[in-house]
Symmetry: C3
């Protein structure tokens, strides 16, 4: 870490040099190394870059949020499996993003306005990549690592929807392909300067580009897998309760916390007006989502349901993510409260369609992701609802077929779903030979 605490002599010299330089601006340019004055751009670069890494840390924590939210909302017998899936896919997602994803998503100027581009395998930069010449807001490495944290979220969104019945290797295979290839291609259309960017589509931090990309694959997975045994019996819908709601609440709070990095970092600098507005719209959106879901659940279900309220917070967050930089605080509340209402209705509707989504991932990330993207067209005068809709449709047109296809190929080769016996005994024992809560008495019939 450090060699010596203070080198008074060296510092005195540096300070003296600084004074000298301040007195003679003409000298400044000639001087070099430590004592040379930095331009405003260079100093701000240090601030912005640090902010981006703060945001990166918080986005990383969202993966913990997803892992425990999903664990809490499902049954005890599948908990180890869910944790293995989530830890593994974060790791694999980051590694594949270093190998191909980043260079697919940001292929460079040559692919401006295009639908596809690739800058070659593996990450790397020269010295210029570490200065403000690369980008006034961050270094090349910061750029990569911030984006890498985003990438794996697309897979963890899928994870919740296909929980409690998918084979581990099949999930890992699907997620690896989807995160390595499909997610960056869509990302390139907007953030990589591609087709959507050229048409004025606006998705600030990814209601469509991240959340609905994950959501379409979640929908595809639910369709291809079918429902968990015992969920739909004849015309009956039998609720399968989550086994650990404090864990679910922990997940929702951590996701909210992580979203300060997800949205705050999407400003791509620490520009004060922008990041502070984004914190306000993000927080108000989440709060309004809670209130919307609380009111809707209390009205419709008669008793306020905790998992609906938690999903309300997430729905509000997804709902303001596309426009967090443009919404006024009041519109952030409107977007959030509507998302909170939508998510409750959507969870109920999707269940009636016998699409078995154990955690409500499709409602939160796909339905509210679409809502948030359209809300930009509705609430921001200079944005076009039609363009926003185009972005939603294009994403569907690419993500739904491709995820169905990947799932289909996996189903026909290594298989997608565990056996009935494995599902009944639970994936923890059948896939991992482990119990999540050794020693605790848990109803075996559950």
């Amino acid at each position: 870490m450090k060699f010596v605490r203070t080198d008074a002599g060296r510092l005195t010299l540096a300070l003296a040099l600084t004074v000298l330089v301040a007195l003679s601006p003409q000298l400044a340019i000639a001087a070099s190394g430590e004592g040379a004055p930095k331009s405003d751009t260079e100093i701000l670069f240090v601030i912005h870059n640090a902010w981006m890494l703060f945001a990166t840390s918080l986005v990383f924590l969202m993966h913990l949020g997803f892992a425990v939210l999903e664990s809490g909302l499902t049954r005890a017998k599948n908990t180890v499996n869910i944790l293995v899936k989530n830890v593994s896919i974060v790791a694999i997602g980051i590694l594949t993003y270093a190998a191909v994803g980043f260079n697919l998503m940001y292929p460079g100027e040559a692919y401006k306005g295009a639908l596809f581009g690739f800058a070659g395998f593996w990450i790397g930069t020269d010295a210029a990549g570490l200065t403000a010449a690369y980008n006034p807001g961050y270094t090349y490495w910061t750029d990569f690592i911030f984006q890498a944290m985003f990438a794996a979220t697309a897979a963890t969104i899928v994870s919740g929807a296909v929980a409690e019945r998918i084979k581990l290797q099949s999930f890992l295979l699907f997620s690896t392909i989807y995160v390595a290839i499909c997610y960056p291609i869509v990302g390139m259309w907007h953030w990589g300067g591609g087709w959507l960017a050229a048409r004025g589509f606006h998705d600030f931090a990814g209601s469509t580009i991240v959340h609905s990309v994950g959501g379409w694959a979640a929908l595809a997975g639910v369709i291809m897998l079918g429902a968990r045994h015992g969920k739909y019996v004849g015309d009956q819908i039998r609720p399968i309760m989550g086994h650990n709601l404090p864990l679910a609440a922990l997940g929702a709070f951590l996701l909210w916390f992580g979203w300060f990095g997800f949205n705050g970092g999407s400003v791509l600098s620490a520009e004060p007006g922008a990041i502070s507005l984004v914190f306000v719209t993000t927080t108000l959106g989440a709060s309004a989502g809670v209130v919307g879901a609380l009111a809707t659940s209390w009205s419709i279900q008669k008793k306020p349901d905790l998992s609906m309220i938690l999903n309300g917070a997430l729905a509000g967050l997804v709902g303001v993510t596309a426009g967090a930089d443009l919404f006024t605080p009041l519109y952030a509340c409107v977007a959030g409260v509507i998302a909170g209402v939508i998510v409750v209705l959507s969870v109920i509707a999707i269940d009636r369609l016998k699409l078995d989504d154990p955690v409500g991932a499709i409602s939160v990330h796909l339905v509210c992701g679409i809502w948030g993207t359209l809300a930009v067209g509705l609430f921001v005068p200079e944005k076009s609802l039609l363009t926003q809709f185009t972005g939603v449709a294009l994403t569907m047109a690419f993500c739904l077929p491709s995820s169905l296809l990947i799932f289909f190929i996996i189903k026909k080769t290594i298989g997608l779903r565990v056996s009935r016996e494995e599902e009944l005994v639970g994936l923890d024992v059948s896939e991992h030979g482990q119990e999540a809560y050794a020693g605790f008495q848990i109803f075996t019939t559950h």
Copy 2:
């Protein structure tokens, strides 16, 4: 997020302009836009504002800390209810703070030295609110969101004390009123430039202004509600054990973590000397609180009690919060260790008075909040013990009667407490129709 990764031409131009400007300071003022040099104040403003939003994020996480601490220290059958209360009140607290609270707490210069003021409904600013002209440390939006995160803590403090027996809607109603109106009024006296500020009262981050404000309402709630069934039987005190102590420990650690934002952000800038001292006093206070509670619990109760030790950390934190900017590290240790001793004695004493506070909120936030406020008068030469006492007394004189009154009105209208049957079966089933741990075998008699 971003359109293109690098615009080499534009950057070269910007850098060239920067060089030109550095060579000719006289040109600097004339230049405008991106290339214009920023003043030190403007650059520092970017740093300070980013620091404040970092702090804001951490204070948000304290709400998770409160939620799981309270859940862990109570019974499994009331866990869903506690989580619903905590998530909801954070959301409602933030929204009402946007609607009225912020403008009650910071009514502006016109109300200097006053006891009450109001700047009108809903938040909003013009372009000046986003520059250092608003405040050299943060934008208007940052100001609001940092303060909003504080506001809801007053309600979550109450939540723990009234747990396991209060009706959901009654709690939400009380908290909404208390956070929207009572908390900002007291806050205005000191931080809004009101009556206490004009008299030299010192409460750096809110031992009185936040913690005791919550604490007085907690006391009022406990008085108005009465004890949980089975807690006091004749002359006997029957301990009701918390159901998930890892969850409680998680909460205490997260609160400690969040306190780095609570106290660190209360510096209102990233001024290096100030924020680093505050980190030291905060950490030493918490550490000494742990040691004080560990020693006291081990001596008095013979076996060291985990919940006492966790409350010792929180007591130490509350104990240094008023003076974290002025205490020397050694006095922070003294304030913390005394708080750690006090909290154990206070929890035992309050229980003997048959005031049933399931999590020890009154001891941690009220008793140690008073201690911390007075400690400033004792340990900081230029501060007056009498003035500190005046602040404590004035806060009591306002908060205790008003919270008793609000609770009384609620009791006489919609009722305050669930029925005996609902309490025995647990609020999770009676209020929410849900179990926190579906599938786990839990003693039904507990």
Copy 3:
């Protein structure tokens, strides 16, 4: 917190002064107080210092990570004890570091190249300690608090290895001595400018200086204590399963999160190129560790084991910690994946040696700490494998005997291990008179 929101007059004056100063650089030096321009060094100092405190917060959270990881991987009946140990040792570690540790670890220039030095009892500084004259990257208080957060990790590493059988007071006594004296002495050799620093040894954030220092004591503790009852029966190894794997996963994720501060803060400034590279190498190392352990566990144990995968993440982190500032991203992956393989093999091997380490602390922190230190010699051209080995050997030569000696003296005086009866009933009831999960039905035979 603040007195008035805006003092327009004062600000106008300040801004006018800033303009004046910008126009007349010669005046700048003469001006003083708030309006005086700051040198680049002074402004960067504000950024760097804030970054270091961000890092400090994250390192603090690692203690929560250790606490819940250890709790989750052991039995329910010892959970309270583990939490008490971990909360207490963090507090004690920080306080003793203030009292003696910091001054042992950084004794000052006079002890350059030495093996021992001491700057006197208790922390303290004058005004210069709060400026860039102390260090361009942080104040004296930041220096202390960042280092203090590191110190206690050495003890929490030991905690996991000796869990479920050590007496509380014996553990606290050992840890206090080890953290107060042994850890800072080794730290001084490298980071305090001592013997190893003078010889070109490189351990960026402490694979050896922190992790193996904790690891050697863990090994000593396991040897001195012996295995838990029922672990090794004749030639049989009977696995003792962790009781709460979501808690363990929470711990691993939080440790990974905290490592962004551990490694990111070890840059000792917010220098953009350095901190962003460190974030990349740290993340890739952890990810590769997960993949390495997943593959190894799946191959050898046939079913992928969650605790192995979690330890794989930690192994990867420990494995890149020594060279996180020098590794290329590709070498970070190599160092991490090898660490992930090593940790699985090491856990199995150590168990076969009948060294009972309930959480795998020796494998993660000692074995991978050595690997990470040597990897610097292998993967960084300008570093010497022999020098790296010397650092490892010197650390062993000091830490292993001294921890064995301290444990031996404690064993012969107050005793080291709880009685067989206490161990069977669990330390929660015997040492604390508490249960971690009151109300839950837990197998009593477990």
